[in-house]
């Protein structure tokens, strides 16, 4: 391969004049983490509500939950991103639209909302599976003790269900983190976008992408390790 490797490129000043290429990637990493964490909060809360709705006796709650999951799972993330970013400001009342359009960091907020709603549909499926994996006796025991449906969920079903789905939730968290890279299409300067601009400025393609790859692998490893620790920590003694 006649490719000129130059690993010291990371310490060169970037043409943006705000620091070295390493600083550029670091700022990308921070945007990736901020987007991933903020959208995960939305995804976790909304996903839990939708997932619980799909297990309730109420037909209406079921239908809404199913509709939500089908809608958000069957449209590609890229299309959803464009819908939130380009279509949303046009179809809401005009003064709201204008406010949205001149919002600073609009691509960040859009990415957070979009990923939050998108990942919520995946979290909802995990929550539903977790609840359905529990023996029916749990619910019946709750009712027999005189707990209301809400109390049964709060004190009996959800505490076990969340423990059961901790491993799949970890991979959904990682998927959500990886999906933040799709937001580069709406102009979010996250890690992949920054690696791409570093490649464009310096034409050191493989150094830029190697750095991004190593960072993504590092985050995955960290998240998996931490999740493993949490799993042992919250495990119910004697169960499994």
């Amino acid at each position: 391969m006649n490719y000129n490797w130059n690993w010291s490129i990371f310490f060169d000043q970037s043409p943006e004049g705000t620091g070295t290429y390493a600083d550029m990637l670091l700022s990308g990493l921070l945007w990736t983490l901020a987007t991933a964490l903020c959208s995960w909060i939305i995804a976790f809360c909304l996903g839990s509500i939708i997932g619980v709705m799909r297990t309730l006796p109420s037909k209406a709650a079921n239908a809404i939950g199913t509709g939500y999951v089908e809608l958000f799972r069957n449209i590609p993330l890229l299309v959803q991103m464009f819908l939130w970013y380009s279509v949303m400001p046009e179809v809401v009342p005009e003064n709201w639209g204008n406010w949205l359009k001149q919002l600073p960091n609009a691509s960040f907020y859009t990415a957070v909302i979009c990923l939050g709603f998108f990942t919520a549909s995946r979290v909802a499926e995990q929550v539903r599976t977790g609840i359905e994996s529990l023996p029916r006796g749990q619910r019946m025991a709750g009712t027999a003790l005189g707990l209301t449906t809400a109390q049964t969920y709060r004190y009996v079903i959800l505490p076990i269900a969340y423990r059961v789905i901790l491993p799949p939730l970890t991979s959904e968290f990682l998927n959500n983190m990886k999906n933040t890279s799709v937001a580069l299409t709406i102009g979010l300067l996250e890690l992949t976008a920054r690696a791409r601009s570093m490649q464009e400025f310096s034409s050191q393609v493989f150094e830029a992408f190697t750095a991004a790859t190593v960072i993504y692998l590092g985050i995955s490893l960290l998240v998996v390790t931490v999740a493993g620790k949490i799993e042992t920590r919250v495990a119910v003694p004697g169960a499994r």
Binding site: E70, P76, F82, L83, S86, V87, V182, T192
Partner: protein, 230 residues
Amino acid sequence: MFSDFDLNVILGSLPYLFGTGMVFTVTLTALAATGGIILGTLIAMMRLSGIAALAIPAKIYVNFMRSLPLVLVIFWFYFLVPYIGQWMTGASRPISVGAFTSALVTFTLFEAAFFSEIMRAGIQSVSKGQTSAAQALGLNYRQTMATVILPQAFRNMVPLLLTQTIVLFQDTSLVYVISLTDFMGAASKVAQRDGRLVEMYIFAAVVYLIICLTASTLVRRLQRRVAIIR
């Protein structure tokens, strides 16, 4: 709001959207799914071979691919494939292979990691007794796999393989980042050209929704039928 929703923009661009865009999307999905399932099965067999020299590289490959964002992998191969081509053909400079080939290579290699996890579960779902019976009949490894284990593994995993293919179908929209004209790329080009973002993006979303919803409903029905037979 929707008062100036212009249906004619959509109608006028239908031949382009489907004739160029959707044909591209479907071709890429079909080729990458076929390649990905074949490669994924090989990787799954490597992981279950019990030979460390095969199992460990396969495991590293799968975990590596699964930790990276698809967008980054698309960029990687977009720039890497010309160099691989040069290395393989011994040419004096990186050969240009075109964005389609690089996208096809990307999706095949990326999805192989996901298909291999499905096929691994599939092979493990066939009971141990089947392997023992095949060996007792004097079949060698290749014969055991080809005539006993894999046919059953595929059959058990058809619903999951198809579900993953639907995911792949949606993921192909990301070739947008290397400016290829798939269905979404075509919609986006028309949208930019005519300044009709609202119409084109909503239309693209509806088309994807209908196709994927229909496909996943059919897969679910198939899953129920397979479940009864077993």
